[in-house]
Every structure is written in C-alpha cells, then in structure tokens.
C-alpha cells in the first residue's frame, strides 16, 4: 500500500462560546491515500468544517497530530509553514465569499504562482491562461473581476486557484452546495477529471451522501465531533453500521426503491 498523503491522529478541538464548551473535534483520526477521495459526511455542526480548518492550519488543534507527506504538519511555523502550504489547498463552499471583492481573476491565480515562486513575472500570464483553460474557462477571463462572472464559473476559478500551487491534497468544503443543480454535475466532473489526470487526493466535505457517494473512494461519517463510521464507499452505502450512517443512507434518493414491493 502506498504511503498516505495525510494521516490525522487523535485531533481534538473545543470551542468556548458564551461560557459553554463545544466539542467540535473529539479524537478524530483519518487517513487519505494518494489519488483517492475521502468523503466526509455529517450534519451541520458535526465538526466537518472545523476538521477542514484544522487540516488547513486556519485553526489550531488542541491535541493530536497531522502528518502531511510524512512531515509533522502541525509543528511547522512561519516561513516553513507558508512554503509547505503549497501541498494542501482548499476550495470553499461559497465562491462569492472566497474572493477579495476587489480582485481580478488573473490576480487571484497569479498570487500562488508568485508566492511559491512557481513562475516568474513574465511567465505568469501564460500560466494563468493555462490554469483557466484547465478548469474549462477561456484564458481571456483573466482580466475580469471575480464578481463579474457567474457562481459556477467562480467556483471553477476557486478550483484553478487550488491547482495553481500544484498541491498533493485539496480539501473541498461543500463545493457544490451553493451552486445550481445543473452546474453541480459539471463541477463534480471537472473534479473527477483533474483527479484522474493529475493524481490529486481530495477531502470532499458534504452534509449528505447523495453527492459524496458519486466521487468518493472512502467515506467517513461524522457526528458531534466524532468519526462514527469509516470505510470504502460501496461498503458504507450497502451496509451502514452506525445509526447516523443508516439515517444518511436512507436519506439518499434511490431509484430502485420505487420498484421494490
């Protein structure tokens, strides 16, 4: 078995909100294999977004370790941390909120190239154009403002930004739940194509199994900060063992149910 891209072990995170302790992550351990997608499913407030933010080092963990490409990721500081951030990127749920309202698409995509020294100033416009075409947008979009394009196009730009740093792992936090039904399929197909051609690992966060089962190799089910069930997607779908798992599977619309007695 190949070396996992990321191993999270015993992650804990507690928030104190208005004097109340809220456990967002309770001893969470997960492993992500290269080129595979881990679907992380749970109800709102189950801690899946907190998990994403701890993985991205946007929030500090209270306890636990994360090994990213064999390195102790949570111990990195300052310049070393910023340089290593290249390996793990994120696509946010709301593509409108994920961009500086003043930014142009070209500027947004050039930033990671500049920060990580992936292309010098002269080479950047061509690389930005190539990134845009990679996510199915015309290269001429580079001069547009982020707020001048549609929601689906904006999410494509967000994916292009994540690709720009050539990461090993991309965390998608409910990437299609703010989009029209008709656009969701296109974005999911784009994600699958990119994974096939570039070999990225994905963490795909969602609140139901309907989308996750289409794109995930492994599924983990979260409930109040704990991983209650994890395993290969077909196995979870066919035979959920936890109560939450059964509820999530039952909530997926099944075509064959209609034919059943």
């Amino acid at each position: 078995m190949p070396e996992p891209v990321l191993i999270a072990q015993n992650l804990c995170k507690t928030f104190i909100s208005r004097g109340r302790r809220v456990t967002a992550l309770d001893d969470v351990s997960l492993t992500i294999a290269p080129g595979e997608t881990l679907g992380l499913v749970g109800a709102s407030g189950s801690g899946k977004s907190t998990f994403a933010r701890v993985l991205l080092r946007l929030l500090p963990a209270d306890a636990g370790t994360v090994r990213l490409l064999g390195e102790d990721w949570l111990k990195l500081r300052g310049r070393a941390l910023r340089a290593r951030r290249r390996s793990i990127q994120m696509v946010f749920q709301d593509p409108l909120a994920a961009f500086n309202p003043r930014a142009t698409i070209g500027g947004v995509l050039a930033d990671p190239l500049r920060i990580h020294g992936l292309a010098d100033r002269a080479a950047r416009p061509a690389r930005v154009g190539a990134l845009l075409e990679r996510v199915g947008l015309p290269a001429s979009y580079a001069v547009r403002g982020v707020h001048e394009v549609s929601g689906g196009e904006r999410q494509r730009v967000a994916i292009a930004r994540a690709l720009a740093a050539r990461p090993s792992l991309i965390v998608f936090d409910e990437p299609v739940s703010a989009l029209d039904q008709s656009i969701r399929g296109q974005i999911l197909k784009l994600m699958a194509d990119l994974q096939k051609s570039e070999g990225f690992s994905y963490v795909f966060i969602a609140h139901d199994l309907a989308v996750v089962r289409l794109v995930s190799h492994q599924v983990a089910i979260m409930e109040s900060g704990r991983i209650v069930e994890t395993g290969p997607t077909p196995q979870i779908i066919a035979n959920p063992r936890s109560q939450t798992g059964r509820a999530l599977v039952a909530a997926v619309p099944h075509l064959h149910r209609r034919n059943a007695p």
Partner: protein, 269 residues
Amino acid sequence: MHSPEGVAGLCLIVLLAAMAFAAPLLYPGDPLAIVGRALTAPFTDPALPLGTDRLGRDVAAGLMHGARTSLLVGLATALVALAAGTLVGTVAGLAGGLMDEALMRVVDAFQIVPGFLLALAFVSVTGASLPVIILAIGLSAWTGPARLVRAEVLSIRERDYVAAARVIGMHPAEVALREVLPNALPPVLALTAVIVATAVLVEAALSFLGLGDPNVVTWGSMIAEGRNVLRTAPHLSMVPGLGLVATVLGVYLLGEGLADAMAGRKARG
C-alpha cells in the same frame, strides 16, 4: 455623485479651494500688514472691497488667506488622524488578545478627554504653530477611525477570502495590506468629512481664544478681533464667520454626496 447635496458641497469646496489657491496671487503681500485707514466700511473703497479692521488690515485678504489656513488644518488633521487611526485599528484588530486590549485602552484614554480640552492643553504647553495645532487636533480625532478600522478588521479577518489568502501561503503582512485593509477603509473615508469639519471648527476656536498660530491669518482670530467692535462693525466678525459656515457645510455636504455615491455603487454592483 449626482445627488443635489453632493453637487452643492462640491461647488462650495471648489470655491473655497480656489480662494485658498488664489490668495497669494491676488493678495501677494502679508495679509496681516496695515494697508489702509482703520475700520473702513465694506464696499466704500474699491481697493478694499470688504473694508478694514481696527488696525487697518484688509478683511478681503484675511478672508482669502484664512481659507488657506482652515483648509490646510482640516485636511492635514484628517490625514494625521486617518493614518494613526488606521495603523492602530489594523494592528489591534489583527493582533487581537493583549495587544488589542492595550491599544484600545489607549484609545479610551484619549477619547474620555474632551477633544477641545486636549487640544487646548497641548497647545498651551507646547506653544502655538500650525504643525502643533494640527497635531493637537489630531490627538482626539484619531480615536474614531481607530475604533472603526478595528471593527471592520475584526469582521473582515473572519471572511473566507482572508482564509483563502492564508491557504495559498501569503505572508501575514501582505494579507493585512492587500486583503484586509482596502476592504476596511471605505466606511472610514466616510468619517473623513466629520474629521475635517471638526478640525476646522476646533482650529477656529483655538484661534478665537488666542491660541492660534500668531503668524498666519485664521478666521478664528479674525472673529476674535472683530468681537471688540461687534456693535459698530459687525461685518468684521460676520465675514470670517460666513467663511467657516461655508467650509463646514461644504465638507459635510460633499461627504454626504460621496457616501451616497458609494452606497449607490454598492447597491448596483
């Protein structure tokens, strides 16, 4: 910028700025020099259209040169206050914790002393000159922008686009300057009009009390000078008084117009 108040404000400010720029051309001499008989009534001598004061100084020259002082003090104070307030507010908002607490207590300390008293005390201790007066008025004016910038920064730093900038490995200083600050500033700019207008009035009040820069003409000192002959020559106080009214009104109206224009652009965009 199509609202009637914005246009009216712009006209007033353009007029005052034109007066300020034209002052050294139309009245190249020292406006504090004695040029005619004392207490010449206005509109009696074509060379002295607004008459002279008790010492025989040209009121028209004083009015025009006074516009320079007022606008200079207003704008310079706003600049000082915005720069200091933005710096403190940004650092407090981004650093958080103990740093935030400490900085905001300093802001409180400046805010609980009435601004005019603070300026008065500062000028009495250090002696009056234009830079000192600008600094003195700025002492109380920077707390407003500091609070506003901090509140904006606190809200903006939780936005996804700031998280996204950190995810791509952007340096914290660049995050602050490129992602947070430009989006925190528009509401602060709306505050500028209030700061400029207040500074103009405080400067006039200081001059009225004799704490202005004695080497430049200010509307406040002209009003103080005219106060002694208020019954016999009321125009000596009224002319600079109208100048003050026009300036403060113009600045407020222009500020309103700009705020409307910004809100309109936001609503349309």
